[in-house]
């Protein structure tokens, strides 16, 4: 019998903080300017300069630490991570390798090992030769973004699949976005994710040799990259081989994995406590503020929505986007007695689909306010219109911004509430469709569908499905 293998995945996530200035100098952080205009002796690492930590960055970092349920360190220190590269002007990066500002947290089902503060590298541009260093005519460095404050979040190896990584990554992104401390935009690089991947026999506690999958710029690619790497590792082991420690790059256009460097080529970063900086010792007030200033975060909001009956999937969707959550709560507020589960389904299902269908409109530009949607939901709940009619009313509301009552009146969609009239139509339908009627009578209950369809057609969908069913069964003698 062959052994079953499972994937073990841990993440290292880099979050660029959206402070006004850099981590260790006063240079402004802004996008799209001429190269090297936002520089100074400190961020160019001229001889004799010293770093001065950005207090706002420390505060933002502490907020992230608190949002991830971490213990915030009363004292944290900086270290130098040494390596030569033109985009790293001091030839060392200032980071927190030994005593990070936050440890031992948890977000959802994933434990956080720690989060630390550091500075980002500058940008190297290779001109000619297809933008790669080999074969290029020249390399240039733009230091405008060099020294951007970064928080690196390191998880425990608690993830088991690419899909789980994507979902959890989205939760993390939504959580940090809501703090307002980062743009968390993967395409622009303000959120970057590396994955450490290994496989092991199911049930084993040991960790296999891991590989590192570097810097993918969307959670879709991360999911695909991880799946590709897990498959590769399982195949290596199935073929009797051993996984080798290496750093990999996933090319989403080809779906292939490329080795960036092997274990032998790994850097020795020669960490050294940073002598130019005194330890970060946040005041008790600062620590308290980081914890108490937290907004309701996605995970907590999802829990609260589930408690009032919203289905898991809808609760998660609403929680990730603050504006959708606010819209949803607006619907609940406007519609007295509205069922949260039904409201959530309308918001995340019908409304979201209709907005997407009509020019992919963002929620902020929706012509349908929460109160109007609440009215519509109530009309359906009170059986004034059928669910099917409700959808076509919504379509009109989204397109023209009309009130639901006027759309219903205009299109004559009001449900047939006179049961005498509905009964006449039901009897007529049985007469007009003797064959399915006979089948139902002789025990084939499924055939009733054709009769329901006939009634709905005759009423142009204005009949209540449950009532139609009841009347049909009554007249067919069931």
């Amino acid at each position: 019998m062959s052994t079953e293998y499972e994937a073990v995945i841990g993440l290292e996530i880099h979050v660029q903080l959206s402070t006004r200035t850099k981590m260790f100098c006063g240079c402004e952080l802004s996008f799209g300017d001429e190269p090297n205009v936002h520089t100074c002796p400190v961020c160019l690492a001229l001889p004799g300069v010293l770093p001065v930590p950005n207090e706002k960055a420390v505060q933002y970092a502490l907020q992230i630490g608190a949002a991830l349920g971490c213990e915030l360190s009363p004292v944290s220190t900086f270290d130098r991570k040494n390596y030569f590269y033109p985009d790293n002007p001091k030839a060392y990066q200032i980071t927190q390798a030994t005593y990070p500002f936050a440890v031992n947290g948890r977000l959802g089902e994933v434990r956080i090992h720690h989060a630390h503060l550091e500075e980002d590298a500058a940008k190297t541009i290779h001109t000619g030769g297809g933008g790669r260093i080999s074969g290029s005519d020249a390399s240039e460095v733009d230091f405008n973004r060099g020294g951007t404050p970064l928080v690196e979040i390191v998880t425990e190896p608690d993830l088991r699949s690419g899909a789980q990584v994507r979902e959890w990554g989205q939760l993390l992104r939504a959580t940090i976005r809501q703090l307002g401390v980062s743009d968390v935009n993967m395409e622009e690089g303000s959120l970057r994710c590396d994955a450490n991947i290994s496989v092991r026999p199911v049930g084993s506690d040991e960790l296999g040799t891991k590989t590192e999958l570097k810097n993918m710029n969307s959670f879709r690619f991360i999911e695909r990259g991880i799946e590709a790497e897990v498959t590769r590792q399982k195949e290596v082991i199935a073929a009797g081989g051993e996984v080798e420690q290496e750093t990999l790059h996933f090319d989403p256009s080809t779906g292939e994995l490329h080795s960036l460097r092997s274990k032998e080529e790994a850097h020795d970063y020669r960490y050294l406590p940073e002598p130019d900086l005194v330890p970060v010792v946040p005041s008790p007030e600062t620590l308290e503020m980081a914890k108490s200033s937290l907004p309701e975060l996605p995970a907590a909001r999802a829990r609260r929505y589930e408690e009032i009956g919203v289905s898991g999937q809808a609760a998660l969707l609403l929680s990730f986007e603050v504006e959708w959550a606010e819209y949803f709560e607006g619907v609940l507020e406007a519609g007295t007695g509205i069922d949260p589960r039904v409201a959530a389904n309308w918001v995340t299902g019908e409304l979201a689909a209709e907005l997407r269908r009509q020019d992919d409109r963002p929620l902020a530009e929706s012509k349908v306010g929460p109160a109007a949607l609440a009215t519509l939901i109530n009309m359906v709940a009170e059986k004034k219109i059928s669910h099917g009619s409700g959808k076509s009313v919504l379509e009109e509301m989204v397109s023209s911004g009309a009130e639901p009552e006027s759309v219903v009146a205009e299109q004559g969609l009001e449900q047939i509430s006179d049961s005498g009239e509905l009964e006449r139509i039901v009897i007529q339908a049985i007469e007009d469709n003797p064959k399915p009627a006979e089948q139902v009578r002789s025990g084939n209950e499924k055939a009733i569908g054709a009769l329901v369809g006939a009634v709905m057609k005759a009423t142009q969908g204005r009949a209540d499905g449950g009532e139609v069913n009841r009347l049909l069964r009554q007249h067919l003698g069931l």
Binding site: P47, L50, P89, S139, D268, Y271, L272, P275, L277
Partner: protein, 485 residues
């Protein structure tokens, strides 16, 4: 005013003469510029012209008009700053070090940038890429290092006073070799911003002067918290000119265990003389132990090179200074650093890189840090019993050029009394204790006497040094004329 009078005046005396209108600031500056122009010690790597020097000193400052020489390790906007390295040949910084801004704001024109050991690594000034600096007492001998140029120009009458830096003794040892006063303040007393880093946890700026009063005046100008240096805190209460004449009630600890082998007879004799002077002034001499100070040199030569190896990594040919090749990235790094750094700097980069390597960190850097902690504790227990710890500044007088260049370890031992104090981060001063014959004979040369005090007790240190200096009555005039052609 006669040139001899200008030459003989201390910084404080010159300031007083200018303030009293006895001499104009222009006269003073012209005199010192002409002295510096005739530098025969190779003390200056760059000399100010009359115009640029005048721009530097703001009028109305407390020390207005008294020019100053600046070690070439301090960045000076628009003025070449090389740290005596080829790798920074022709480098002109776009900003000025905090200490230099402060001397300028106090009204002191900059005379020039002084010679030094490359990146402050050395004890003889022979590691300068721009030639050795000579001792004004005997031009066949070294002035000490790394602030050799600053010490030589002050002792040799090429500047009234100077700024230097001290990492393991780089102010005190050359001050001792040249017969002047050198003060290394407590780590954190003065901003390091704009001082080219050698070993960041040890580097400290300080004055090299003709007497203790001058050192006090300069320290007051320099000390203070700087928001550009988070490790700077300043000295609470500031520093006043000293007035003490006696040492009554003060105790001076002598670490006899440290003062043994390798010390020259003449140096020891002047040291013992000075202890007698202390007793005559009412001070008490007490034997103390610094049990771990004997390991200081070993620990220092792990810690300082470790920090240096990362501090000097930025000299890569990418942004400024020398670029030896741009064939490809690796050869640019390798050739630039191969051609740009001198042998001692390379030796220390190699040492430090090795000490920080994965797998060796605990054995070297980690252990050295532990030794450092023990040394700090040694001084803490000593200062529980005594007010000051005293030693000779160096085990020898100034040695001959080339005498120790072949054997780095002998050279390193030159700092055996200064390094423990650097590791402890505490303030210490070297004052001239008289002259002594070198072992093996020859003309007499200055001997330095080192006094160390608890952290941030500079005022107390300066008062005691002043009283002792008055009693010793050292005469450095023999060297004063020798600096200029």
């Amino acid at each position: 005013m006669a040139d001899m009078q200008l030459l003989a005046a201390s910084g404080a005396e010159t300031a007083a003469q200018i303030a009293a209108g006895e001499v104009s600031a222009d006269e003073v500056l012209d005199f010192w510029l002409s002295r510096a122009a005739n530098d025969r010690l190779n003390g200056y790597l760059w000399k100010s012209g009359p115009e640029s020097a005048r721009e530097g000193g703001a009028p109305g400052g407390p020390l207005s008009g008294v020019p100053i020489a600046i070690k070439d390790i301090f960045c000076t906007e628009g003025v070449p700053t090389t740290a005596a390295s080829r790798i920074l040949g022709g480098y002109v910084p776009p900003y000025t070090a905090t200490s230099v801004s402060k001397t300028a704001a106090a009204g002191m024109p900059m005379l020039g940038k002084t010679n030094m050991d490359e990146f402050a690594m050395g004890s003889s000034n022979e590691n300068s890429a721009y030639g050795a600096c000579l001792n004004p007492w005997d031009t066949e001998r070294v002035p000490g290092g790394s602030s050799g140029g600053s010490a030589a120009v002050v002792a040799g009458g090429l500047a009234p006073w100077a700024l230097g830096t001290d990492t393991g003794g780089s102010i005190r040892q050359p001050a001792g070799f040249c017969g002047i006063v050198g003060l290394k303040p407590t780590y954190g007393a003065i901003s390091r911003y704009g001082m080219i880093a050698f070993a960041s946890s040890l580097d400290q700026c300080g004055p090299l002067t003709r007497n203790v009063t001058d050192a006090a005046l300069l320290l007051e100008v320099l000390q203070g918290r700087d928001e550009m240096d988070t490790t700077s805190v300043g000295i609470e209460g500031g520093i006043k000119a000293p007035t003490a004449e006696r040492l009554d009630g003060m105790t001076f600890g002598v670490p006899r265990g440290l003062i043994g082998e390798g010390i020259e007879a003449g140096v020891l004799a002047r040291f013992e003389d000075t202890l007698i002077r202390i007793a005559e002034l009412g001070g008490e001499i007490v034997d103390i132990e610094l049990p771990h100070a004997g390991h200081a040199i070993s620990a220092y030569y792990v810690l300082a090179p470790a920090e240096a190896s990362t501090n000097l990594s930025r000299y890569d040919g990418v942004r400024y200074g020398l670029r030896s090749s741009d064939e490809d990235l690796l050869s640019m790094y390798e050739l630039t650093r191969e051609e740009g750094f001198g042998p001692e700097v390379k030796r220390r980069i190699m040492l430090g890189t090795y000490a920080l390597s994965s797998g060796y960190y605990d054995a070297y850097y980690g252990r050295a840090q532990k030794v450092r902690t023990r040394i700090v504790e040694d001084f803490d227990s000593a200062f529980a019993k005594v007010d000051f710890v005293v030693t000779p500044t160096s085990p020898t007088v100034a040695f001959r050029l080339g005498e120790k260049t072949a054997d780095p370890w002998t050279m390193y031992l030159s700092d055996v009394f200064t390094v423990p104090i650097s590791l402890a981060g505490i303030p210490a001063i070297s004052i001239p204790a008289g002259l002594a014959e070198p072992d093996g004979g020859g003309p007499e040369l200055p001997v330095g006497f080192q006094i160390a005090a608890p952290a941030f007790s500079e005022q107390k240190l300066i008062e005691a040094s002043h009283a002792l200096e008055q009693a010793i009555g050292f005469d450095g005039s023999a060297a004063l004329e020798g600096g200029a052609r």
